[in-house]
């Protein structure tokens, strides 16, 4: 399991920082973000998505993309959030390394910052086809922290 401590997410309300990790799925790969809030867990899951493609530390923040999603529940909101990032990555040829997410009443508003893919520097390992519903979960754990996860099809 690969994991990483947040580089870009600011300190959460309780002073905690978010972390991301990957988890194994037969042919593909799972992404999991943890944070003090659901929004921070979403930011970390997005960093884990970038880390499937390249090392997020290699991705400069030179361009910002605004993102809005709306879904009937938090899990489908995570599905929409990650799939909107996949769409932006695919159509704009971008990689992202920093995210600011706000969630309220089923609405997500976010800014994703990154730069165009540079094959030499980023050496992207694989293209993400989409975030799936497999292992999709957004939960507040017993310690009060949030976990947001799903499997990506690559």
């Amino acid at each position: 399991m690969i994991d990483g401590r947040a580089r870009s997410a600011g300190p959460a309300a309780d002073g905690g920082v978010g972390v991301w990790e990957h988890f194994a799925h037969g042919a593909d790969i799972g992404v999991r973000g943890r944070g003090a809030t659901a929004a921070q867990a979403f930011e970390q899951a997005a960093l884990a998505l970038t880390a499937v493609v390249t090392d997020p530390a290699l991705v400069r923040q030179v361009t910002a993309v605004p993102i809005r999603c709306r879904a009937p529940d938090l899990e489908l909101l995570l599905y929409d959030w990650l799939n909107t990032l996949v769409f932006q990555m695919a159509t704009q040829h971008l990689l992202f390394s920093a995210f600011d997410v706000r969630i309220a009443d089923g609405d997500l508003e976010a800014e994703a910052r990154g730069e165009p893919v540079d094959v030499e520097r980023h050496a992207p390992a694989v293209e993400v086809k989409g975030a799936t519903l497999t292992e999709l979960a957004v939960r507040q754990c017993d310690d009060g922290r949030w976990r947001a996860q799903c499997v990506l099809d690559v």
């Binding site: 194994a24 799925h25 996949v86 695919a90």
Partner: protein, 476 residues
């Protein structure tokens, strides 16, 4: 895999009789080694599939089955619309109409030997592969509609390949019933610059040689002669298909309660075939299938151009093109009666037996070519559909080796540079922009394709015709 509640029915067939919500049995084709290696989640997913409305016969798992999305990868299930049957976006997957096509040539391995590095370089230059790569084509909205309804026929009309190719493509290169209006704007946007691109992950263009022939008569009919060079292309409908899967999976999950569907797993998201959503998905999925066929046709043209720059006179006749992530309406024999079924094959290849009218006439006596991709560095196979496959699995067979370990495990175990060097020492050239990608796709990260194919043959799903060895592999 846990064998509790499972009984053996012959050497390579394992049956789980219906319990709980299952409407039909779950049937797995495997030997003991492959069965033991399968994740328990394959069993769980297969039993879930067996519980879906309108399923006919059984839910089947091919010998290369592994944990997928709702359906196991290597899963086959047929549904009857008249019996309330469903169509499932998860049962087709994100890479709609991902498949393999193989070109055969008159070149021999010796002809290639002297030019292998320069040919590898040329193919890597000409075939857009990997993250951020784009094709040369930019389609207007009108041209995209024409591509989505025309498939490989559209590509041929644009000058990619020849009309002779079409007879050797599933459905003659064009899937009927495509509805471009059922696609979201996002799906169209994702394909804007991706026509004629290979993708990444386990997709590849591979130059291979025919290392062994098992069935001389079928091989002759297929144009396969030991020592000759062939090219296999494995890819699908690119971003457009991925977005169709993403869009409809979401729509089907949200609409499930309104269709009275209780899903044991949200990834099984489906809709009745005879519902507005089911029909829209089928129209969108068929458009994505045409996109995949057009894409492979363009790549074929680029590949032939590259070969001819290095080896003037290269022909590269199309042996066959068949998809392994699809839902198709087909006629099948159910207890002596022909029924029209929607057959889902998720990581499984259609394998019509001898004399089936869908098989090109020149090959009909031997059955449909079934193209099985290995991993880079290992063998690929050409099989032929067997007559017995109809009763066993709705004429379906395996599609590849299947992974035996995760991508992360693979990067821990292998370094991309070392994999490239070791394969080069064995005469196999790898061209990829990403060494991490190479490590993730290391041959050792996959199951033995030889065993999978042997079991498919012994189980009666298909017959072995030829084994192909890799020479050059272009990956994303």
């Amino acid at each position: 895999m846990n064998r509790a509640g499972m009984h053996r029915d012959g050497d390579y067939r394992w049956v789980i009789e219906p319990t709980g919500d299952m409407r039909v049995p779950a049937v797995l084709y495997a030997d003991e080694v492959l069965l033991d290696d399968m994740d328990d989640k394959v069993r769980w997913q297969l039993c879930n599939v067996a519980s879906l409305p309108g399923i006919v016969g059984a839910a089947y798992a091919m010998p290369d089955a592994h944990w997928g999305y709702g359906f196991p990868i290597g899963g086959v299930a047929a549904f009857d619309a008249e019996a309330g049957g469903v169509v499932s976006a998860g049962g087709v997957g994100f890479d709609i109409s991902c498949g393999v096509r193989t070109l055969v040539s008159a070149c021999t391995r010796d002809d290639i030997a002297g030019v292998q590095p320069v040919l590898a370089h040329e193919l890597a230059r000409a075939i857009p592969a990997g993250v951020g790569s784009t094709g040369r084509l930019r389609l207007s909205e009108r041209e995209m509609d024409a591509m989505l309804t025309g498939g490989a026929r559209w590509a041929v009309a644009q000058g990619y390949g020849s009309s002779d190719d079409l007879a050797h493509i599933e459905e003659h290169g064009c899937i009927a019933g495509a509805d471009p209006h059922a696609l979201s704007q996002r799906a169209r946007d994702r394909q804007r610059d991706e026509m004629g691109t290979l993708g990444s992950g386990n997709h590849y263009l591979e130059v291979q040689w025919i290392a062994e022939v098992f069935d001389r008569a079928a091989a002759t009919a297929f144009g396969l002669e030991q020592g000759r060079v062939v090219v296999s292309i494995h890819c699908g409908s690119r971003g457009l298909g991925h977005q169709v899967g993403t869009d409809y999976l979401r729509d089907m999950v949200i609409a499930a309660p309104s269709h009275g569907l209780q899903l044991p797993d949200r990834e099984l998201a489906c809709a009745p075939i005879r519902s507005d959503l089911g029909q829209r998905y089928l129209g969108a999925m068929r458009a994505a299938m045409n996109c995949a066929l057009a894409n492979r046709q363009i790549l074929t043209h680029l590949c032939r151009e590259s070969f001819r720059r290095i080896l003037p006179g290269f022909d590269g006749q199309l042996l066959y093109d068949v998809s392994h992530n699809i839902c198709k309406e087909e006629l099948h024999d159910v207890n002596g009666r022909q029924r029209r079924l929607h057959v889902h094959r998720k990581g499984a290849t259609r394998a019509f037996g001898p004399e089936h009218e869908a098989v090109p006439e020149s090959m009909r006596a031997h059955g449909q070519p079934v193209l099985i991709g290995g991993s880079m560095g290992t063998a690929s196979y050409v099989l032929a559909g067997a007559a017995t496959g109809e009763a066993l699995s709705w004429s379906s067979a395996c599609h590849g080796a299947g992974r035996s370990m995760s991508r992360h495990q693979a990067t821990k175990q292998w370094q991309g540079r070392k994999v490239v060097d070791e394969l080069a020492a064995r005469g196999i050239l790898i061209c990829s922009p990403s060494l991490r990608g190479v490590a993730e796709e290391a041959p050792g990260a996959y199951k033995s394709v030889d065993r999978v194919v042997d079991v498919a043959e012994r189980a009666g799903l298909a017959r072995k015709v030829a084994r192909l060895g890799p020479l050059i592999c272009v990956k994303g």
